[in-house]
Amino acid sequence: MRGVCTVNDLLPFLVVGVTTGSVYGLAAMGLVLTYKTSGIFNFAHGSIAAVSAFVYYDLRTLRGLPWPVALGVAVIVVPPLIALLMERVTRSLAAGTVATKIVATIGLQLIVMSALLAGYGGAALDFPGFLPTRTVTVIGVNVGIDQLTSAIVAAACALGFFAFFRLSAMGVRMRAVVDNPDLLELSGTSAFAVRSRAWLIGCWFAAASGVLLAPQLGLDVLLLTLLVVQAYGAAAVGLFSSLPLTYAGGLLIGVLAALATKWVSHSETFAGLPPAMPFVVLFAVLLLVGRGRLAEIGGHRPAPASKPLMSRASARITAVVAVLLAAGVPLVAASKLPVYSSALVFVLIFASLHLLVRTSGQVSLAHAALVAVGSSTFSHLVVGAGLPWLLAVLLAGVVAVPVGMLVAIPAIRLSGLYLALATFGLGLLLERAVYGTSWMFGATNTLPAPRPALFESDEAFYYVLLAFAVAGSLLIALVGRSRLGRLLRAMADSPTTLSTLGLGVNVTRVTVFAISAFVAGVAGALYASQGRSATGAPFLSYTSLTWLTVLVLCAGLRAAGPSLAAVLVAVVPAYLTDGTLAQALPVLFGFGALLVALYEARAAKRRGSGQPLDELDAPQGSRSGERLGVPGPAAQRLTVARRARVARSAPARVRVGTGLAKGATR
């Protein structure tokens, strides 16, 4: 740090921060509004922004339409279509578990993102701005007219929405649906109709912020999709509930990010900090705010995931067969052997994720980052510190544990949603701010990573990996079947049990998270060793999303799930010669995960109010309630049915008495 900063030094950053923050605030309000009204946190919120920006780009640049037309379509016409879809999807998800809901919108996000990447490529494109870029001087600071206009438009939308939400009849209905959707329905207003209005506004806000931010961020799928991260950082300031505070949170994040830009401009180490600011804010909120203030919205089924497709016995047989087949792979794979080697590493990665997601119902979105931590640590230990290979592999796992726990501990005590958000942020923070530092992969983003001397050849090392994959899978299976695993399954996703049992459950959850992180770290070390170099490139934060969706796709296969997931991720792309197909693969994964989530939510709903299980024990022919005689009031007369049954019915509790007693005590 150099000397003191005067206000005048900071002013430009403040102005820039407020102008971008205003747009973040708008996006965040849309996110919070839809979350409050529907109970579903939309991880795909940023994708909506991306879609509208790309629609505008497509119509304006590629098709040459006049900008007002392109803008109108992108911001006014497209969002209602998305809102319609979102309302439908979230309606079907209402009965699902927290994990189901998270997976569904992450699936959506992956679909949109991968489709945009496949369609427009990953490189940032020039966004054809529609606002003048001349600058004007505001309180002594030069600001682009476009930026200023964006900020004012966003602020006006936010203000207009506050007024709408507080004053209009629809605003009252939206608040009513947050309070008690059943009561709203009893009053003759469809809760679904109100929610679809909320989705409409949420999507409009997302679309508007996408088009307003694209000129500054560039037309970059990843950056625009990440708007959801800015938005949830802002939402955290409003405790995922207050709309005005959420908008203020957007301003705060904008300003913090701008100030961070100023400070890190002197430091190579923290160059990635500004984009990770929302995570820092979220993390602070998670740490500082008690459970009561961050209650989760929306009812959730305590029911665990639906029945696996495979019985335990057949899963075991499959596992044995898989190991035997895997042992034979080097004989036939020839030049593709490295593909299978990395598949074995993925078996470990997916096994550790499986433990977390399927056994305990916790969704972690930092898994790729934990693997990356393992990778880089391994290199530092073996090459830097000269430790023996095996020791370095295991220690790489050990180091990944506290990194993951750091965010897991404050989040787990709250709810599955906050764990997902916090880990999403952690993955991003590590990727943006730490991957490039000397702590991890360094500026060149590659570190040497040797294999053990005795197993230098691809074939020999393949068997080392196979041994690790088997051992890791066994470890995970053991944990899953131990008392710990049963406990976790029993209370997977039951916030009420969670709070009644208190700390004990949180400790077990954290333990599972730690085991999972350890295995992920080990997998990272092996991945590096297999490739003979450690690099962060395969472990960007979006990889975590892909992994999650693939795992969910394969989850019906019990313990065999991770192996199939590994094949899908590592082996299948290697045999796809068609480039576009390979690019479209994540779209399919996203679709698959979305469908699985919808299916599970439907199954949970059916269990919730569907066919009675005790159909058989209902006595037959007891139509005591059936009416005799003709319709009309006379038909009300029933015989006093089954006097015999009256005699044997258990003596009932005192009702009139208790009623009076209750009346008296109030």
Partner: protein
Amino acid sequence: MLQLDGISAGYGGARVLRDVSLWLPPKSVVALLGTNGAGKTTLLRVASGLLAPTSGRLSVDGEDLTGKRAHTLARSGVCHVPEGRGVFPTLTVKENILIQAAGGDVGEAVERAVSVFPVLGQKLGQLAGSLSGGQQQMLALAHAYVTEADYVLLDEVSMGLAPVVVDEIFEFLGRLADDGRALLLVEQYVSRALELADYVYLMNRGRIEFAGEPGELDSDRLVAQYLGAHT
């Protein structure tokens, strides 16, 4: 007529209602009595569309509305004042009435609500959650009067209230009945409910075990037997 025929319903695997039939004719008052956990609330939830039955038929004035959602039934003239406090705590009294009016004229709705419960008139700008228990219940009950629903389902609306408030509420119920609304009354004050009622249903373990006029109910004995209490 609000008509439930052969209704079975439950939560998850547990079946609560078994083959229940109950008719609520226009302009009549029907009392539904039963012990704790008999399934009265569940029956009202089915009748107002909050809970879809697994079998059976629900109709209003001859129109089959089985499986329709609650807002449709509400628009067909069924008003359900639920167990507990049927108000939106974070909305003001006036906003609550706005919701109750379901798109109708708010000013008129407020007038009607205040005409039956004058105390609400002084609280229009106050959050419903900050009203006293009795006032909250009055607000919830105002719904029935505001909407001009033909069939009003009332689930223990006097629960937990001071005796004076209970009196006021029963007075209101009498007024609703005189106004020509049909009432389905689930009540803990059995004798007061029977005073109003034209018909009585007794429910036990998810079944109707008696239906008839209050006079037919050998009240002391039956009530003692079914409800384990003396009135």
